[in-house]
Symmetry: C3
Subunit: 275 residues, 3 copies
């Protein structure tokens, strides 16, 4: 990559672009990350040397905890610079991620919640550390709404009943349980995770590109939700994020250290049940 990123580092090796999300203090989604993701998709779209992207995190505790609740307007404005006039949301940008030229693999070693979970589902595949991977969609428990694809993806990946449990329960899911219901491809012991993902990514990177791209496109055509449904969900997120009903709960979370490196973020699922 001849471009510079502010929220991630990149390294190209054997056709695989290793992208490490590195946006201190804790990888919250903000305008820097959204801009970098747009740049990354733009650059890899025209670069046939990057056949596979692996996303990981430089922070051992957090992959992406969720969006920065104080920067929704800012990152949404940046997201709106990508795609067409109806694609002004994080969900629409994630759709571009799903339709990216390279194959995308998420390697999860910490927590991915909210729009961090939705980032995972937008990738083509996702593998999590058995010991350290945690996924959650806590939006409903906060009083907001999963507006970047979780509803649509989870029904298709896990079925209606499990989608209800994940989303209405708003709790944390460890890697083993996430594998069981189909949230992720596999839960893999920490010491085997990097070798597994490396082998798979480098394997695919060697395969003929025309075949890989065509298969990805056709799997997406059958497996991705209609764009319109994610647009509707994006709209509901914007409405509920401004609604009073979530204010009291967000205030209670803030008292407990929400959006800081605290128990509120480390054990979000538990804390949500306590307030």
């Amino acid at each position: 990559m001849k471009v510079t990123f502010k929220s991630m580092t990149t390294e190209l090796k054997a056709g695989v672009l290793w992208v490490s999300i590195d946006n201190p203090p804790m990888n919250l989604i903000d305008e820097k990350f959204v801009q970098d993701l747009i740049t990354l998709l733009d650059e890899t779209q025209k670069d046939d040397k990057c056949r596979v992207i692996v996303f990981r995190s430089s922070d051992p505790d957090f992959f992406i905890p969720h969006v920065d609740m104080n920067k929704i307007a800012e990152y949404t404005a940046v997201a709106a610079t990508s795609g067409g006039p109806d694609d002004i949301s994080l969900g629409a940008l994630y759709r571009r991620l799903s339709e990216s030229r390279p194959v995308t693999i998420a390697m999860l070693e910490g927590r991915a919640r909210g729009a961090g979970g939705e980032f995972l589902y937008a990738c083509d595949m996702r593998f999590a550390s058995l010991e350290h991977g945690v996924i959650g969609q806590p939006e409903i428990g906060v009083g907001v709404y999963p507006g970047a694809g979780a509803i649509q993806h989870l029904v298709r990946l896990c079925g209606r009943g499990n989608a209800m449990e994940v989303i209405l329960g708003s709790d944390d899911w460890n890697a083993q349980e996430a594998e069981r219901i189909g949230l992720i491809n596999r839960a893999i012991p920490q010491n085997e995770l990097l070798p597994f993902v490396t082998a798979l990514a480098e394997r695919i990177a060697k395969f003929p590109e025309a075949a890989v791209r065509l298969a990805k496109r056709r799997i997406n055509a059958a497996g991705l939700p209609p764009k319109e449904d994610v647009q509707v969900d994006s709209g509901f997120f914007q409405i509920l994020a401004r609604d009073d009903s979530s204010a009291a709960r967000i205030a209670a979370l803030n008292e407990r250290g929400f959006q800081t490196r605290s128990r509120a973020e480390l054990e979000f699922g538990d804390v949500l049940g306590e307030i």
Copy 2:
């Protein structure tokens, strides 16, 4: 609830309405149960104190064994009093259950077969006792047809291959196997089941209602089958239930104690293979 039920008991606690199906001698679906379900849905629709309904059974052996084959006309007539002019079936009433204002959780400790299984799938989530939960769709083995949603739900929850095995095989599934294929959310050891369901139900009952209802509605929009498909299945049930082809097998089942507290009901799957 200020109403009286004939086939169930209710208790509201911490925003959770505990409904225990109590319709002796063995919880067969009849006109009393259907009327009570309609009343329950009507009442909870306007009651914002009931945020979650948990369905369980007062009978340790049977959640709902199936419909009372001698009362199909009676309960169908009652079901027809609910909903619109095209919604004259148990399947249409179950659809109202799926779209209920409260979140619904089924807690299965005994047998749920036929329209009892379909009741489970209509709920938002379902958890079963690892030791005692049993699910079956024995209709095809009897020569009738699963007309209240099983076909549509199972394809979406379990995939086409597993749906074929459950429905064409007409056998009993224990909780562990039911979890494996996605029929239920989880199989939980009996002594942990009530605490688990209580914690989940009370957790959701505390979350902001606007967010919960919206998420439920959107998950349903993506995950429920089209109403028309269930209507078609309802029609096929009515046709096959009157067809001669099932008469011989129902007679053979009757000889073995069908619709009584006998081995034919306790071990339905096995008995069906013997006749």
Copy 3:
């Protein structure tokens, strides 16, 4: 059956037609197999004594390894003699298999890859030997394309993420992992496989035919992919099979014994990663 098959043997017992694929040297799909499959479907369509078909293999190593790459034109020409003017592909013939009058069960004891895997998904149910069953969709790794239904079936059976891993990864899946992601109904220990399949097949064969056929038809209506999508995939296979991009990899495979009883076929997934 009053007909003679060149690539399979048949035996009718207790309403179950046991079909053993027997097409030496290694059960590659060729014009003989396609013709026999057409004949089998034609004959069983009018034979109410055959209620269930079980497909197995006479070759302990190979169920169906894949199509004979040297006979694509030949078997496609034969496939074109079945079905309507738009149904000129193996995928369309497999659709006829999915919609067959008898219930179909695949019993997998060796390797099924490529169009062999797609044969499995077209069947109503599939059970594999825990020790010996292997499934793979190696097309993309070869530079060709799974054109007989894998893309469409896998998204529906396994979800988008697992479909990406199976198809883009192009690797072998053992029976246990295949069960985990929903590729097959069950992985069953070798010494229990035949008794299990026999019991299930004979059980269904005793059930009233009208109910069985109706349920199968309705499950298919909800669970099979649109024919048009398989037609599109069939077209892509024909294009990529003639494309230069796969020539170098097929040449490399040929050097290693592709389409012979060699390590290239026994350990296809591994060999594909080495070239």
